[in-house]
Symmetry: C2
Subunit: 201 residues, 2 copies
DNA sequence: CGAGGCCTTGACCGCGGTCAATGCCCGTGG
DNA sequence: CCACGGGCATTGACCGCGGTCAAGGCCTCG
């Protein structure tokens, strides 16, 4: 198992090393190649994925063949289709590596086991989920209200690390617009900053 | 405190009555009138609201004065601006009664207290939050992909109880479209079902 | 060096937003 | 009991943002 994950559990989740050792057998460490799939639509998701290095994305495929990215998971994020994993239903999502990644696979029930072994962790875990919900609320708010341009600017603000690492057509899909549209928005942006003087360094 | 809430904690959350009694002072029961506000933008949210009867909605106001409904909370749902309540920041949301409602106010930290008193509850609580995230994932998916019509039909499927109780302009706002647009969609729907014969009873 | 993936550009078009007017329902008060 | 008024839903005319389609350029990788 990777050290990033150990670190995360011990420092962020405040989980003692011993508890972690007990659960060793519920986690495993994998290298995944760019574009490799960890979950495909139709299958049942058995794992939650913790990203040590790289980026995963979770997306669905609409009937007309379009990808909709529900979530990016860069370093220290977790991703899973909760419906599939917890309800034991076939997933409607794909989880795929955007770049070569190092990923910790957490077996279904791992987090529950940890909280039962060490109840104090549940506070942290609840907090993590709350944060997750917060972010999703905010995103819904954006999708409801913002124009293509506003959403793009908001994305830049919130995930500056991602723009350079994720292909634009995926970002477009995350924002709910087409690559063409994103391209137009970006042109306007660069024209604008050119006019205002090159105050961007 | 209302019985619905007691029921919910004891049967769904499997919380023993004694534990609940210890926390009595962290909850309070209120009747709220239609259109009354429980939280206004700019204030700090101190409570999570559990709806015993009625419907609450949480929404934001965009700069151009438009409402965006993040969530409806009918009977047995909880609603709160997690960012504000847990980060102690002024909220950007409003929480308002859609109809006359009976609401239990849970003080910040109530749920945490419960899980610390009775750790088994955390599993249930985690489950509740997971469910919440699941639903939001699904909604994001809809907002990303669906046309106005698809979103409306999906809403009908998921929340049939709400259409008759919530004014259409709020549903439009929840779907991220204008009332005019929703009206057009509904006309098409009724024309369609008229043509196909009145197989709708 | 070739091929394929990604980004951009332009022309066109349609969904859904905007604005304005009308209708409908219902609660309130004279 | 009826008249009035205000909130909500609907309709129509118009328009613009962003989607679609097709083509071209560029970079990377085999």
């Amino acid at each position: 198992m990777g050290n990033v994950f150990r670190d995360y559990l011990q420092n962020i989740m405040e989980l003692p090393a011993e508890t972690l050792d007990i659960c060793q057998d519920m986690v495993s460490y994998h290298s995944v190649k760019k574009s490799e799939f960890l979950l495909s639509s139709g299958n049942i998701g058995g794992y939650t994925y913790f990203v040590e290095k790289g980026i995963l994305r979770m997306y669905s495929l609409s009937t007309c063949g379009k990808e909709h990215i529900v979530q990016f998971a860069p370093e220290r994020w977790m991703v899973t289709d909760r419906r599939s994993t917890y309800m034991n239903e076939p997933s409607v999502y794909y989880i795929q590596a955007v770049e070569k990644s190092e990923v910790v696979f957490l077996q279904r029930g791992f987090l529950e086991k940890i909280t039962s072994l060490h109840p104090q962790t549940s506070t942290k875990l609840l907090f993590y989920l709350q944060r997750n919900i917060m972010l999703m609320q905010h995103r819904i708010n954006m999708l409801l209200g913002g124009t293509a341009e506003e959403r793009y600017l908001e994305f830049l603000k919130q995930y500056p690390q991602l723009i350079s690492r994720v292909p634009l057509y995926m970002i477009a899909s995350y924002l709910g617009i087409t690559p063409e549209s994103l391209s137009r928005v970006r042109r306007f942006e660069s024209m604008r900053s050119a006019l205002l003087g090159k105050s961007n360094t």
